[in-house]
């Protein structure tokens, strides 16, 4: 950086979207990119776990019904292998879990979203709010 250069570099937040539904990936990628996020989409549970263990992300959107490794198992292994994981993990699902199962997942995740309840833009707003919380 040269003297007099007052340009500020904005840190771009990285989002890992582990979701097998193509249209949701498309919609979330579009909305989150517009909101200033860098988005990586993965459509498989095993691949998603590998990606989360290998690269650094700020937010992980994790679906439950995934091929090869379901989302709850991905989360469990992520927490076991990376106890100091910096990324905030948000479960995204349209499933209606029993209260015990939901409570168990919410205990391990940083958020729980029913996909049908939020439009992609509302999801982006939610993630912005999430960044503000410690």
């Amino acid at each position: 950086m040269q003297d007099g250069d007052h340009t500020q570099q904005t840190v771009v937040k990285k989002v890992l979207c582990i979701e097998d539904e193509h249209f949701i990936n498309e919609l979330y990628a579009r909305a989150l990119t517009k909101a200033g996020y860098q988005v990586k989409v993965v459509i498989d549970g095993e691949e998603g776990l590998r990606e989360a263990l290998t690269n650094i992300y700020d937010i992980i959107l994790l679906d439950i019904m995934l091929p090869n490794l379901i989302g709850t198992e991905v989360l469990k292994q992520l927490r076991a292998k990376l106890p100091n994981l910096r990324a905030k993990v948000i479960i995204t699902t349209n499933l209606e879990l029993g209260k015990e199962d939901r409570a168990a997942i919410e205990a391990q995740a940083d958020g729980y979203i029913v996909k049908a309840d939020l439009t992609p833009r509302q999801m982006a707003d939610f993630l912005k709010q999430l960044e503000l919380t410690p």
């Binding site: 249209f23 949701i24 919609l27 579009r30 909305a31 349209n94 996909k115 439009t119 992609p120 833009r121």
Partner: protein, 533 residues
């Protein structure tokens, strides 16, 4: 063998008397003494009468006056003599009467007979009185034996009763229970007998009317009562197994045996368990509906964003309507699920601290857009110094959304909807949604918060499911608040609900985990809906 009066002979009486040990000649002695006493008294009187007559006539008095005087004096003396004599003669009878009354179970306190008062026949009367007391104690013994036999029979019946049956006293200590009860709870008898009922039996009820509240009501206010509960969860000691049953209870105050309460369980674990499978089916159906809804909402949003300013107003309006309908359909799918959850006691809410002004505006955001499309305005008047509230944000937002949705639906011509929030007299945060639309008839108000209930007059013109207010009531009640309605046909309606300030739940917070206070929305709830004129 029954007693046959015709076979009974005089000699049997004497035989029986002798066999009981009371000697006949004792009675003869008493009679002789009474005879001698009376003869003595009569003799005195006769001698007095004769003596008086002789003395008076010897003194020269005329016969007739002397006779009259003699007769009168003798009569007076005879009166006093008879009075004294009757007391002595009746004394044995009086003392026996006292003895009989003293041992009679239904008599008031009568002192025991004092035999020292007897002038004659003391031995006989004492002996007879003793017989009375002996006979009475034999009867007591017989009654005691019968009573003990009855208790034993009752205990046997309870023990072998084919359903879980519990008997407990006024201190809620279990005094008896059926073998089925031990089997049902999978516990041993020392863990139940002699223990407080609720230390051994863990029950969960739908609604606020529980066995405990009924017990308290009985002991405070009732002499006898019955109680019934359905779909009660019985949590077993292993901490995992839950059985479901109906309960029937009976109360009788001050029962001599010490038993005040009897309850029995009717197990329906299989039957009610099937109902929970219906929740699984609905959950699956909801998932299948939500997936295409997510797609619809997502792509509609894309169109709105990309075509903003490029569409003519009419087409832009169509796009908005498309969005609103999709949002409503999404809300309806969630409503169906929540209704089933409420019925299965599965709807759990987590109350956390919320800035009510902020949450209210966020909750109303969707309806604000709809109002805009419909050409109406929603105005907010919120007190600046509102305390934070204890609320489950998602479910309370549903309530706000529902009330605003109704306000918009039932205001075809009026333009304004008002939302107000303030602290009421009871210290609760009260929120009111007021419209100036068609209003609600009196006949409809009473049933307004029931599931699927809709006003028949507007049903054809105004779409709706009849679930919104039912859900709203369940949610607000679970929050510890009340929901009410005030309405007049042609003038509009005012729906109000209250929420507890967060500070009021300080005690409850101490006992909860850090995520908040968990409440359950039940299908059976008290009627908090109040219609005010």
């Amino acid at each position: 063998m029954g007693f046959n009066r015709k076979q009974f002979r005089r000699s049997d009486v004497q035989t029986v008397t002798r066999a009981e040990g009371t000697r006949v000649d004792d009675f003869q002695k008493l009679r002789r003494k009474a005879y001698l006493y009376l003869m003595f008294v009569h003799g005195i009187l006769i001698l007095f009468a004769l003596g008086f007559f002789l003395v008076a006539t010897n003194l020269g008095y005329d016969f007739l006056p002397v006779a009259f005087a003699d007769g009168a004096l003798t009569l007076v003396l005879a009166h006093f003599a008879a009075k004294i004599s009757s007391r002595f003669v009746m004394q044995p009878f009086h003392l026996l009467w006292q003895a009989i009354l003293h041992v009679a179970p239904d008599s008031t306190s009568v002192p025991p007979p004092n035999m020292q008062k007897l002038l004659f026949g003391r031995e006989l009367v004492t002996s007879l009185a003793n017989r009375v007391y002996q006979f009475a104690s034999q009867q007591d013994g017989t009654e005691l034996a019968s009573h003990r036999k009855a208790i034993s029979q009752a205990a046997n019946i309870v023990s072998h009763f084919p359903l879980p049956l519990f008997v407990f006293n006024k201190d809620q200590i279990v005094t008896n229970a059926s073998d089925s009860a031990l089997e049902y709870l999978n516990i041993k008898s020392p863990q139940l007998f002699g223990q407080k009922l609720f230390d051994s039996v863990n029950l969960e009820f739908q609604g606020d009317h529980t066995l405990e509240t009924w017990i308290k009501d009985c002991q405070d206010n009732k002499v006898t009562d019955h109680g019934e509960w359905q779909r009660v969860h019985v949590l077993l000691r292993d901490g995992k197994t839950i059985k479901q049953c109906d309960i029937a209870a009976y109360y009788n105050r001050d029962n001599e045996s010490g038993t005040e309460f009897i309850i029995t369980f009717f197990d329906h674990t299989d039957l009610y368990g099937q109902d929970e499978q219906s929740l699984s089916f609905v959950a699956l159906a909801v998932h299948e509906l939500r997936t295409p809804l997510t797609m619809l909402r997502g792509y509609i949003e894309v169109f709105e964003e990309e075509l903003e300013g490029k569409l003519d107003p009419e087409l832009a309006g169509y796009m908005h309507k498309l969005r609103i309908s999709t949002d409503q359909l999404t809300a309806f799918v969630t409503n169906i699920l929540n209704v089933v959850k409420i019925q299965e006691n599965q709807l759990a809410l987590t109350l956390v601290e919320n800035n009510w002004q902020l949450l209210l505006k966020q909750a109303a955001a969707g309806q604000l857009l709809r109002a805009q499309v419909l050409g109406k305005t929603i105005t907010f008047t919120v007190d600046a110094k509102l305390p934070t509230v204890a609320a489950d944000p998602v479910s309370v937002s549903e309530v706000v959304n529902n009330l605003l949705d109704n306000a918009l639906k039932y205001s075809p011509t009026s333009k304004e909807i008002m939302v107000k929030a303030s602290v009421n007299k009871e210290g609760m945060v009260e929120t009111t949604v007021q419209d100036f639309g068609v209003g609600i008839p009196d006949s409809v108000i009473q049933n307004l918060f029931e599931k699927f209930y809709r006003n028949h007059r507007t049903r054809a013109q105004i779409g709706g499911t009849g679930l919104g207010l039912y859900l709203s009531k369940a949610i607000i009640t679970a929050h510890g608040g009340n929901i009410s309605v005030r309405s007049k046909v042609g003038e509009g309606s005012s729906f109000s609900f209250t929420l507890q300030p967060y500070a009021q739940l300080a005690d409850e917070l101490k006992n909860s985990d850090t995520s908040g206070i968990t409440r359950h929305a039940h299908g059976w709830i008290k009627n908090h809906s109040m219609y005010r004129r």
